[in-house]
């Protein structure tokens, strides 16, 4: 289905902290097409600075009391100019929203377990994924790491869906002290022979690399959502490339290519979700 472009009104902009907000947009057409793990390219409407849109995972698909889809939300973390502007938007402001875009997560179902590994704002694509997994009653665990206890958001949401929560914080204020990969490795070790867990990950790239390597070490499959600087989100600019082992963009017979670094594919259309084993981590 082709992406939609819509000037979406801000329905709400809930500040979760001085850095995080959940920006809810009246974009029912986008919500209706969304699959877990897809993203939107957004910018405040009518504004020429910033010039380019910015990519954000679709956090929630919003519904009214009757269950009709009313829009989407994004979990926005202030990182620079655009994200600061988005943080400051008020109800009624208008955001230009293009999406949904990209390859979604492939949900698993029982007996395979779903392990969602989120680092910080990497939680974003897992709300819709957890909903899909809950629907198919798949055994779901959220491994969720943040810097502090105050930056662990939406725990109720995931609990209500029946997910098991395994929390870590860097300062130890809540959950295990340390990185989210610690409890993940413990769980992988404890996994019964013959049991399978699909390890989904989203977060900072070093975390993604660690998660993908851990999953591989314990012979479990993984799907990771990468974040690259994106100019267009549609495959037009080639700014968002990631190195992959498989050559799905360049043919493998390409002369000379072998001497070069790994095959660079556009994460906006071939991703943002990739098989963790497929990516080249340096």
């Amino acid at each position: 289905m082709p992406p939609i472009e819509i000037d979406a009104r801000v329905i709400a902009n809930a500040r979760l902290s001085s850095e995080y907000s959940v920006l809810s947009l009246a974009a029912p057409e986008v919500g209706a097409r969304t699959e877990p793990g897809q993203f939107v390219m957004v910018k405040p409407a009518g504004v020429t600075d910033p010039l380019l849109r910015r990519p954000f995972s679709i956090f929630e698909v919003l519904r009214d009391a009757q269950g009709a889809i009313t829009g989407v939300s994004i979990l926005n973390k202030r990182a620079g100019r655009s994200t600061r502007r988005l943080y400051e938007l008020e109800v009624g402001d208008v955001v230009s929203c293009l999406g949904p875009l990209g390859q979604p997560f492939r949900p698993v179902s029982s007996p395979t377990r779903a392990w969602l590994v989120a680092g910080g704002v990497g939680l974003a694509p897992f709300a819709t994924l957890a909903e899909a997994l809950a629907k198919s009653q798949t055994d779901t665990t959220l491994f969720y790491g943040a810097r502090t206890g105050e930056e662990l958001f939406y725990l109720d949401f995931f609990e209500r869906l029946g997910a098991t929560l395994v929390l870590t914080t860097e300062n130890g204020a809540r959950g295990t002290k340390g990185r989210v990969t610690l409890p993940l490795e413990a769980a992988l070790q404890a996994l019964g022979a013959g049991d399978t867990a699909m390890v989904y990950a989203c977060g900072p790239e070093p975390m993604l690399a660690a998660v993908a390597k851990l999953a591989a070490r314990y012979q479990q499959p993984s799907q990771v959502s990468v974040e690259r600087v994106m100019g267009c989100g549609l495959g037009g600019c080639y700014s968002c490339v990631v190195p992959v082992k498989r050559r799905d963009d360049l043919s493998s017979e390409a002369p000379g290519a072998k001497e070069e670094h790994a095959n660079l594919v556009r994460s906006c259309i071939s991703g943002p979700v990739f098989d963790g084993a497929e990516l080249v981590w340096d």
Binding site: E5, L52, R228, V229, C232, Y238, S239, V241, G256, N263
Partner: protein, 312 residues
């Protein structure tokens, strides 16, 4: 009666002057879902060498005030795969396909053009002698009058397709390069490619893109690009294709008044992939309001008489 938006570039007639700029529209097919490619005046492919290329490592772009710097480094599938995999699909969709041709040597330009001459469905060749993002070839030709003349002459002999050298703005006198291209037998020139630029992250003291240097595009450069188009228009007789920061019909018309027969849209396509219909509507609206029957009559219709001082 609806105004006539068609324009001619040598033997080529386009239904309208709006062309998707090279490197800003993938191979065209990426935009299949959002635009009817046959409605565009034309589509320029990403820059193509003989062989595949990986391009530069990311990060490859960074936003700047009213613009962006890119150093993609001409990642691409090479001319053979393009002809085999992309061209047939573009033809099917009724796209008028311009192929942006790169080379590290004069011979490579000629070879790529020969391959394209044998293919079906190529409307014209845009000779990329102006990419600031690769070290070998390319801009070396584009920054020397002799280099420009030589590569255009060589390609001219190798193909009967329209040849449109794409000029770099990183020179003292761009019009002299348009003239060299004309003298060498070019059917048109296109300009501008990007301005060599850089951006530093002051917190890390490192470059913001991996290649350090990249090309600046977007609205920021438009006033310089318009000036360059006007300079070329005054000096050469062949058509000029203008670009650099076009965001709407007014910007497109500014280039056409300055002498552009057709225009390309690059960066704005990233901002708004649905721009094409909006600009076409804007052109029609302008022509209707101004009672102009044929858009092509506005090419070079800029009147340099100073405006009045009072703005009221």
């Amino acid at each position: 009666m609806a105004p006539d938006l068609s324009v001619s570039i040598g033997s080529l007639t386009l239904p309208n002057p709006l062309i998707a700029a090279s490197g800003c529209f993938g191979y065209g097919l990426e935009y299949d879902q959002v635009v009817d490619l046959s409605l565009l005046g034309g589509v320029v492919s990403k820059g193509l060498f003989m062989k595949e290329r990986q391009g530069h490592p990311p990060p490859r772009i960074v936003e700047t005030p009213a613009g962006m710097i890119n150093a993609i480094g001409l990642q691409g599938i090479g001319v053979h795969r393009f002809v085999k995999e992309k061209l047939p699909l573009l033809r099917e969709r009724g796209a008028r396909t311009f192929v942006n041709v790169c080379g590290t040597t004069l011979d490579e330009y000629v070879e790529v053009c020969k391959v394209l001459s044998q293919a079906e469905g190529v409307a014209a060749i845009e000779l990329n002698i102006s990419c600031p993002n690769i070290k070998e070839g390319g801009i070396q030709f584009g920054c020397s009058l002799n280099g420009t003349f030589d590569v255009v002459s060589a390609v001219r002999k190798a193909t009967t397709l329209p040849v449109i050298p794409k000029l770099t703005p990183n020179v003292t006198d761009v019009a002299s390069f348009a003239k060299a291209a004309e003298d060498a037998g070019a059917d048109a020139v296109s300009l501008v490619n990007t301005f060599l630029a850089m951006a530093i992250d002051v917190e890390t003291r490192r470059p913001k893109i991996s290649n350090v240097l990249g090309g600046l595009s977007g609205p920021a450069i438009r006033p310089i690009a318009v000036r360059m188009v006007w300079e070329c228009y005054q000096l050469v007789k062949i058509p000029v294709i203008g670009m650099g920061g076009i965001t709407d019909a007014r910007d497109a018309l500014e280039f056409m008044l300055a002498g552009a027969t057709a225009v390309q849209i690059g960066t704005q396509n990233f901002v708004d992939p649905f721009i094409w219909a909006k600009v076409l509507d804007g052109l029609t609206d302008y022509l209707t309001r101004h009672n102009v029957a044929r858009l092509r009559d506005l090419v070079g219709a800029f009147d340099p008489t100073p405006p009045t001082a009072a703005h009221a």
